[in-house]
């Protein structure tokens, strides 16, 4: 997979199902039969990963929704996104 940056466009992997429950999300990884609970920001990132918006677009949206320093937000979102991609939970929208 190409390295992640603010221009990357990602979507949840095909075996990932999630449901928002109040401020959190229950995430099911179908193949691994694994259940995870994600916090408010992580749940919002899953929502923003719609296969159309860039990661930079997610950061813009999150910056508008949360009271957080922009540089910190960028660093954290990119790191967390890379973690989700490495775990196979997000994949490039173009399949690359």
């Amino acid at each position: 997979m190409t390295p992640l940056d603010a221009g990357s466009v990602l979507r949840p992997s095909r075996d990932v199902r999630y449901r928002r429950i109040e401020d959190e999300a229950v995430v099911i990884r179908q193949r691994a039969a694994e259940v995870l609970v994600m916090n408010e920001v992580a749940a919002r990132i899953l929502e923003l990963a719609d296969g159309r918006r860039t990661v930079g677009g997610w950061i813009d949206a999150l910056a508008a929704e949360f009271d957080v320093d922009r540089a910190t937000l960028e660093r954290d979102v990119l790191a967390f996104t890379a973690e989700l991609a490495a775990e196979g939970m997000l994949e490039p929208a173009d399949g690359v």
């Binding site: 429950i21 959190e24 229950v26 099911i28 259940v35």
Partner: protein
């Protein structure tokens, strides 16, 4: 089922897995297991007209000994092999193959070379465990791998993976004079809106503790506890999402079914009303001194 075929561990030829509910019946005996969720089992013989259309009919067919592999079970952890599809669930295990079909209502079929005796009882119970899990899914509830402990205030469910402490909590509960419904599988049903909370009903499946034979009235759900062994006793609230995830992880068979897992999650969320939920992580020590904090 990944790279293996369903039943490969158990069957001499998994390609011959029964494709439909047909075969040589074991006999014409009939068993009706009637619980709160309706009659749901029938053994042998042709289907008959039934007044209880909400029941689940299962047929038991004769299978040949040669259909099953001989397995050395010493030191072996037994797990049924399930293969779920939108229209059917296939399962295989020690001396059994079975199907659950939706036509459109749920019905079951079991093939085994054992027509009676203690071994048949175990085979039939394993089949019933799966059947009941899917039956409860259809009724808006769930079968949960948990210890259920009741007193006059209702039933508390203690959940966790193997080794988390369900049997330990059950043993401690018995020592306090409480009732253990089961330390293995219990049923959670929807209540009747805000006025009636979800309720817990004993199933005839127990592990080391609980009496699978005697009936027990349904009890209102008094709390959910995710177990964690610890040096000290404490109670931490769980969010609704964390409680739902815990219940999902403890819903055997159906939580491994990719075609029905989301329906299961929907059931579980309906069982957890919006707002504060009576769900906690219980960190407990083996001394059993945690009971008073459950009532805070």
């Amino acid at each position: 089922m990944g790279t293996t075929r369903c039943g490969e561990a158990f069957l001499a030829n998994p390609d011959l897995f029964p494709a439909r509910r047909a075969g040589e019946p074991w006999g014409d005996a009939v068993i009706d297991l009637v619980r709160r969720f309706g009659a749901y089992c029938r053994e042998g013989g042709p289907p008959a007209a039934r007044a209880d259309t909400a029941g689940v009919e299962s047929l038991v067919f004769r299978a040949a000994e040669a259909d099953f592999r001989t397995i050395d079970v010493r030191g072996w952890e037994y797990a049924l092999d399930l293969d779920a599809a939108p229209e059917a669930v296939r399962l295989a295990g020690l001396r059994l193959v079975a199907r659950l079909d939706w036509r459109p209502g749920l019905c079951g079929a079991l093939w085994t070379p054992d027509g009676g005796g203690a071994e048949f009882a175990g085979i039939f119970e394993n089949f019933c465990r799966v059947l009941v899990a899917y039956r409860l899914l259809e009724r808006g509830g769930a079968v949960l791998h948990c210890a259920a402990i009741s007193d006059r205030g209702g039933a508390r469910l203690f959940l966790g993976r193997s080794g988390a402490g369900k049997s330990t909590v059950s043993r401690l509960a018995l020592a306090r004079g409480l009732t253990v419904l089961s330390d293995d599988l219990n049923a959670l049903f929807p209540g009747g809106g805000e006025a009636r909370p979800p309720f817990v009903e004993k199933l005839p499946f127990t592990g080391d503790y609980g009496d699978s034979r005697s009936p027990s009235p349904a009890a209102p759900l008094a709390g959910l506890y995710r177990l964690a062994k610890s040096e000290a006793d404490s109670l931490q609230p769980l969010s609704r999402a964390a409680a739902a995830a815990c219940l999902l992880a403890c819903s055997p068979f159906v939580n491994a079914d990719a075609h029905r897992r989301e329906r299961l999650l929907a059931n579980l969320l309906a069982l957890l009303p919006a707002g504060p939920v009576a769900a906690w992580e219980l960190r407990f020590s083996l001394g059993g001194g945690f009971w008073p904090i459950l009532n805070r």
